[in-house]
């Protein structure tokens, strides 16, 4: 807006005639004369013949647009800017409140009594804070069992994924062999296939390994873990991610390590893996989050509730009132909070890695 004056400008010279030393006078007049030949919009500009006027050095150039001076325009702009910023903040904060509102509602519902939850007049704060909801949930919802299962599955599937990913990314980024690019393209192409295509056959495969309850066999806890861990030991996207990271490590380091008599193996673990640590941390956390959220596969491959993961446990435990058949929302929300809090803690501590990793990965889990 400030530059608009260039388009339509009116130059008015305001002078204040004061007594000035005579020596300075000619200089000023010269300057003014230099400014005078304005090439554009001359017909609009009003000029004062400075040569005929007694000019001193207190020249003030005043540019106006639509009969407003610069100061007025500046002020108006400032006001619109402030209003606009305020509106932006209002909009953003309102949306942010909407976004976090479900969390708030989850918390306060978990602390309400059943009658308060279902009463017609909804309250935004529990009139009686029911910590006993949590006591009930700990007694009736096998939180610790599910959590143990989830953590075991997360740890082992993460370790497996990290190992296969590191090896593959190393081979694809540093070693040379016939058909490297072609093989990598095949890998990338598999990312296009929806996971649902695989679920059916993977289910059959896992069943043929004897990891699933069948007519002749009852699943053990170890088999349930294996069924939930092994199919997720490979992640093409993470290989791609780590390969890009490995490629940034200068080749000279590799050759220097070779000269020092280091094998590929020790170079990989002593140089590349430490240098790619941020990516590896991101992969680990995203994998953990993925396991924490995984619902479909554990639901398919496990029969016994105690073998399942936390999302399954949460969905299954309906907290139905045995007499009325109604759902005890207070208990349900308390259980939901127990499931959500660990993820939040993870987020608080690893916010940077999570947001960076998600930004590049874009895949939940």
């Amino acid at each position: 807006m400030l530059f608009e004056e260039e388009l339509e400008q009116q130059v008015v010279e305001e002078e204040q005639v004061e007594e000035t030393p005579l020596e300075e006078k000619p200089e000023v007049v010269e300057e003014v004369h230099q400014e005078q030949p304005q090439p554009e919009k001359e017909e609009k500009a009003q000029y004062i013949d400075f040569a005929s006027v007694k000019v001193n050095n207190n020249l003030v150039l005043s540019i106006t647009e639509a009969s407003k001076t610069v100061d007025q325009i500046k002020k108006a702009e400032k006001v619109t800017h402030i209003i606009f910023t305020a509106l932006t903040y209002l909009f953003i904060v309102a949306l942010a409140l909407i976004v976090i509102f479900p969390f708030y509602w989850m918390i306060i519902t978990s602390l309400k009594t059943y009658s308060e939850i279902t009463q017609e007049q909804q309250t935004f704060f529990p009139s009686v804070v029911m910590w006993t909801n949590y006591v009930y949930v700990f007694q009736h919802f096998n939180f610790l069992t599910y959590m143990k299962n989830t953590i075991v599955v997360a740890i082992f599937s993460t370790i497996g994924t990290l190992l296969t990913t590191i090896f593959a990314a190393f081979a694809f980024s540093r070693l040379q062999f016939k058909g490297r690019e072609a093989l990598f393209m095949v890998f990338l192409a598999t990312m296009m296939i929806p996971g649902e295509m695989m679920v059916i056959s993977n289910y059959i495969t896992v069943a043929s390994f004897g990891w699933i309850t069948s007519s002749t066999h009852t699943q053990t806890l170890m088999e349930a873990y294996a069924a939930m861990i092994v199919p997720f030991w490979v992640s093409v996207f993470h290989i791609y991610l780590l390969r890009q990271n490995f490629k940034q490590i200068p080749n000279e380091l590799y050759l220097a390590a070779k000269v020092d008599g280091k094998s590929d193996w020790s170079y990989l673990w002593k140089v590349m893996v430490p240098l790619a640590a941020p990516t590896l941390i991101s992969i680990t956390i995203l994998k953990f989050m993925g396991t924490w959220n995984s619902y479909v596969w554990p639901n398919l491959v496990t029969e016994i509730p105690q073998y399942r993961l936390i999302s399954n446990g949460l969905r299954e435990s309906s907290f139905q009132n045995a007499d009325l058949g109604t759902i005890e929302y207070g208990y349900q929300m308390a259980a939901s909070i127990l499931v959500t809090v660990p993820l939040f803690l993870l987020f608080i501590f690893f916010r940077k890695y999570i947001m960076k990793g998600v930004g590049r990965a874009g895949i939940k889990g």
Partner: protein, 377 residues
């Protein structure tokens, strides 16, 4: 030294005579004493690695040939675990699923089937009658529920969430104070268990829930009862909480991508627009959106695919049966159908999965094609 050696191996740079202080020394071949092992290239120069230490044998550089060799068996050793896993859990299932979709009455426990047929696709697409075990003459839940629901979900949630995310990220980008904090707040829905938050949504939309209370819908339902969003309600009403939940759940990722895209836009464009006194909406439409089009395209592809595969959110809100009307299966999506039929009608599930695969491929290619004309890179 590594650089020197690299150049030596590549033969790109003329080797410097004399060597450097670290100990790379070149000698003319004639003068080479017989005992000197080392690397020899085109018979002219021999590089010997030396050190200040007095050692019996000059350094032997081992394994260097691995770098240049095209036949590196070690590389295959590193790749072996991944290749085995990819073949077992990615490539074989892909082929096998397509195979199953053409078999009749595939039994997933025994692996037996009654010959090949194209009927599976016809049956699930409601073109061929099918006598099911429970007496139904047609397999209808795929065409009458799964496909329409999936398309509604996709075409409602994808544009809405992308537009909303675009507006939020532009607004977020324009502010300075609390930007990081607000960005984190908007990211929170990503860091949640979708089952847990889906349950919160079903509480919010409950008969006696907050939504009915705020909007005064406590007597807007049938027979003067409360508005029913989740139980005993037609599909189009149940879509409201579902779509809201999906949008809520999918916005954080989009904001993250768009915001990083916005921060990468050159400020000069905006300064030029300022000089021209372009109005804000024009700046948005003519500068921001075109320059963000790669990110928008990426988000469109990923969220189209994601919306086609919606499953968890339905389980979270409506429960494992995927219905708001008892026995109607009216909240089915394509993926829901696949999972629900895996053990009972494996062939149908495979056919539906192949159907989904083809649709996703078509949409992805279509979007690439459309964007090759419109996207500004």
């Amino acid at each position: 030294m590594g650089i020197e050696l690299l150049n030596f191996l590549k033969g790109k740079k003329k080797r410097q005579a004399g060597g450097n202080s670290i100990g790379l020394q070149t000698v003319e071949p004639e003068k080479v004493p017989e005992y000197t092992p080392g690397l020899q290239e085109d018979g002219k120069t021999i590089v010997r690695l030396t050190s200040n230490k007095k050692i019996k044998n000059p350094y032997k550089v081992s394994g260097i040939d691995d770098v240049a060799s095209k036949n590196n068996w070690k590389a295959w050793l590193y790749l072996a675990p991944v290749i085995i896993l990819v073949v077992i859990f990615l490539l074989y299932p892909l082929i096998n699923t397509i195979f199953i979709s053409f078999t009749k009455n595939y039994n997933y426990t025994t692996g037996k089937y009654d010959g090949f047929t194209l009927e599976n696709f016809g049956i699930i697409l409601h073109m061929i009658p099918y006598q099911s075990a429970d007496g139904a003459a047609w397999e209808t839940s795929f065409t009458s529920n799964a496909i329409p629901n999936t398309f509604i979900l996709t075409f409602v949630t994808v544009p809405v969430s992308i537009m909303l995310a675009l507006i939020i990220s532009v607004a977020l980008n324009s502010i300075k104070a609390f930007q990081k904090f607000l960005q984190t707040v908007f990211f929170l829905p990503y860091v949640t268990n979708s089952i847990a938050i889906g349950m919160v949504f079903s509480v919010l939309f409950d008969d006696a829930g907050l939504i009915n209370f705020i909007f005064g819908l406590q007597h807007a339902g049938a027979n003067g009862g409360p508005m029913q969003w989740i139980y005993n309600t037609p599909t189009y009403i149940a879509m409201v909480p579902l779509c809201l939940f999906i949008v809520w759940n999918s916005i954080p990722f989009k904001i993250l991508i768009l915001l990083s895209g916005l921060q990468g836009i050159d400020k000069q464009y905006y300064q030029a627009a300022q000089i021209d006194a372009a109005p804000k909406w024009k700046v948005f439409a003519r500068i921001t959106v075109p320059l963000l089009s790669p990110q928008i395209l990426y988000l469109m592809i990923t969220s189209f695919i994601g919306a086609f595969k919606e499953y968890n959110s339905i389980v979270a809100i409506f429960g494992k049966k995927g219905e708001t009307l008892a026995g109607q299966k009216n909240m089915y999506t394509v993926v829901f159908y696949v999972y629900d039929n895996i053990s009972a009608n494996t062939s149908f599930a495979a056919a539906a999965a192949v159907f989904l695969f083809v649709i996703i491929l078509i949409f992805t290619f279509f979007q690439f094609w459309a964007s090759s004309k419109r996207v500004h890179y």
